[in-house]
């Protein structure tokens, strides 16, 4: 991963909090092409793979603008971030202005409008994770990865070697795993200090981080399947009376698997 990993000031602070120098820097970056219309396909050189993904998304919806979010996902997966070049390419494929897509990329939290580290680690710092040590987890991950914990907590920070991007994030919908983190789009938790170090080391070695803490392996909190509630058992029995298979319920006509109540 190369490139400047520092976020431009106007992406990390409200513009009315910028210093005069930052304001001048921002104005200097404004380019005439920012006001450009819909780019032509031949001007932007879209990689075939990216173009196919975007066109496929456009075909899924009754109206093509609905493919905007999928198109930005495709750009981000292709380039590692929503780069201006990638956005122009998506805009050309979709027939919208780059500004239209940029307005979306800056609204949604999961799109990166500046280059970020290779592995993305989002650490939940909302209520349940905070009560269970989410702030400490963020600091431990930053220490192991070599990222600035204050920046990470505010707007996200990449490690100096470009390997990691760590960000304190609002509720990820996994309060049962508190404190938890989303690592390269997979959930892990609850994570302690040792897990934080182990996860970063595993990622450096190209392995799956702390697989035993993966959400996909977690059983329901209530434990193994209890005996069915009598009302549920009654319904299941009447759906599958002895000797009568269920009606053919699929065009395949294969209902043999549906016979007999389970367990």
């Amino acid at each position: 991963m190369s490139g400047d990993l520092r976020q431009p000031a106007h992406l990390t602070h409200p513009t009315d909090e910028l210093s005069a120098a930052e304001r001048r820097e921002l104005i200097a970056t404004m380019r005439p092409e920012d006001a450009a219309g819909v780019p032509e396909l031949h001007e932007v050189g879209v990689p075939d793979e990216l173009r196919e993904l975007i066109e496929e998304a456009m075909g899924r919806y009754p109206q093509i603008r609905s493919a905007s979010l999928p198109a930005l996902w495709a750009v981000q997966r292709h380039y590692g971030w929503c780069s201006p070049q990638g956005i122009r390419q998506a805009a050309a494929v979709m027939g919208v202005t780059p500004a239209y897509l940029e307005a979306l990329a800056t609204f949604y939290d999961l799109y990166h409008t500046a280059p970020v580290g290779l592995h993305r680690v989002l650490v939940c710092h909302n209520i349940s994770c905070w009560m269970n040590g989410g702030d400490e987890l963020l600091r431990e991950l930053c220490a192991a990865a070599g990222a600035n914990p204050d920046e990470a907590g505010d707007h996200g920070a990449s490690s100096a070697d470009g390997e990691f991007f760590i960000q304190g994030f609002e509720c990820l919908g996994a309060c049962d795993l508190a404190p938890m983190a989303s690592i390269d789009d997979r959930y892990y938790g609850p994570l302690d200090a040792a897990d934080a170090v182990a996860a970063i080391e595993a990622l450096r070695a190209g392995e799956q981080p702390v697989p035993e803490k993966a959400l996909s392996r977690r059983p329901a909190a209530g434990g193994p399947e209890p005996d069915p509630d009598p009302r549920v058992a009654e319904a299941e029995a009447s759906a599958n009376p002895a000797g009568h298979g269920p009606r053919a319920d699929g065009p395949t006509g294969d209902d043999s698997r549906g016979r007999g109540p389970h367990g």
Binding site: I127, C175, D176, A220, G222, P224, E225, V232
Partner: protein, 458 residues
Amino acid sequence: MTREGEARMGETRLLFRHIDEPGLASIETYRRLGGYRALPRAVHDLESQELLEALEASGLRGRGGAGFSMGKKGSFLPRGEMEKYVCCNADESEPGAFKDRELMQKNPHQLIEGCAIAALAVGAAYVFIFIRGEYWEVADVLDRAVAEAYEAGYLGADVLDTGNRVELVVHRGAGAYICGEETGLLDSLEGKRGNPRLKPPFPAIQGLYGGPTLINNVETLSNVPHIVRNGAEWYKRFGTEQSPGTKVVSVSGCVRRPGNYEVELGVPSREIIFDLAGGPAKGRRVKAWFPGGSSAPVLTEAELDLPYSFEAMAEAGSMLGSGSIIIADDTVSIPKLALRTARFYHHESCGKCTPCREGTNWTAKMLERVTRGEATPMDLDIIASVQEKIIGHCLCVLGDSMAMPVGSMVSKFRAEFEEEIRAAASSASRPGAAGGGRPGELDHSGFDSPLTAEVEAV
């Protein structure tokens, strides 16, 4: 955390039946365990009007937060030939809520079957499952299940050879709590920023692409196959008269066994929090709890025996919401909890309406002043009054969702806020002292501040 090797009393598993059965996410296992029996019945034997009547008769109330009758909502859509849509709200982003995640991850076909039946009931040819982008691995599970359902003929241009068309698209969001608000969701699905719309017109009349749209939560739609298969009367044997059925409750925070538990509505809250989720750690007590996610006004230890139902929570001045219980034990600082809550809504406010955009911003700033010791008790009155000025004054309830819990914390725990102000002021005045970030670690030593007289005079 230890797990006992048996299911605990109190759970009534209907949607969570066979939840950890290996392979349940595949179509073979789902069918083997009784799945895809309701959709054939819906498509072969029932008219769409009968489907809507069955859903209304079942008394199924929306599980996303508002608790509105699903059948009634469906009946608001105009009849007749036009482009109509069903949207499944899987943008679960409310702090404390994680039930839809487990329902989709482990039993995606239950939801797909419910979506297809809902589409038949209202005459929609398109269903969109709007899933939050953070749930990427769950969306992958859904994608695989949807492909299987197409392959088996449960979805597509000709559902079970009946000429009915139901297309289902899994749409990944990209990180914005506001997209869980139904009109914000629609704008986002149309490829815009997720800004809420002015209502009316309601989505049932003018929703996605301007067409009539039914929007329901994952858990609501997951109930539908059970109702269609077993009948409304059977369904009403679960839960209470006004809140029939089961509810998947997410319990988290300071409890020993956090997770999703499926219960009948109306069971005592204490049973869910203590018998199922294990209650707080040994020697700790419940100090405050959110009964319905972080948007619900907090309740106290004295209210633990209330039945867990839409009505009882509303009567207690709070709400059941999406059914997410967050427990704060006696080590947690309520002012710091209020600050976390306010910061979340400040971050997530879309900025369209002034009371929400400015109100969440200033509430967070004032609560920061409280925890830094720069506030006076009068600021607490200002905080309380700001909350009152947000409620009911915006296009959607995001601002209200901060104002209600923060307002409830300030009014129910005012003494603790005042103590926090005193303690933070005195620790800030000591050289080298730093305000700790740990929940509840208030340093009361060396307290000697000119604020004392002022605070005690209040």
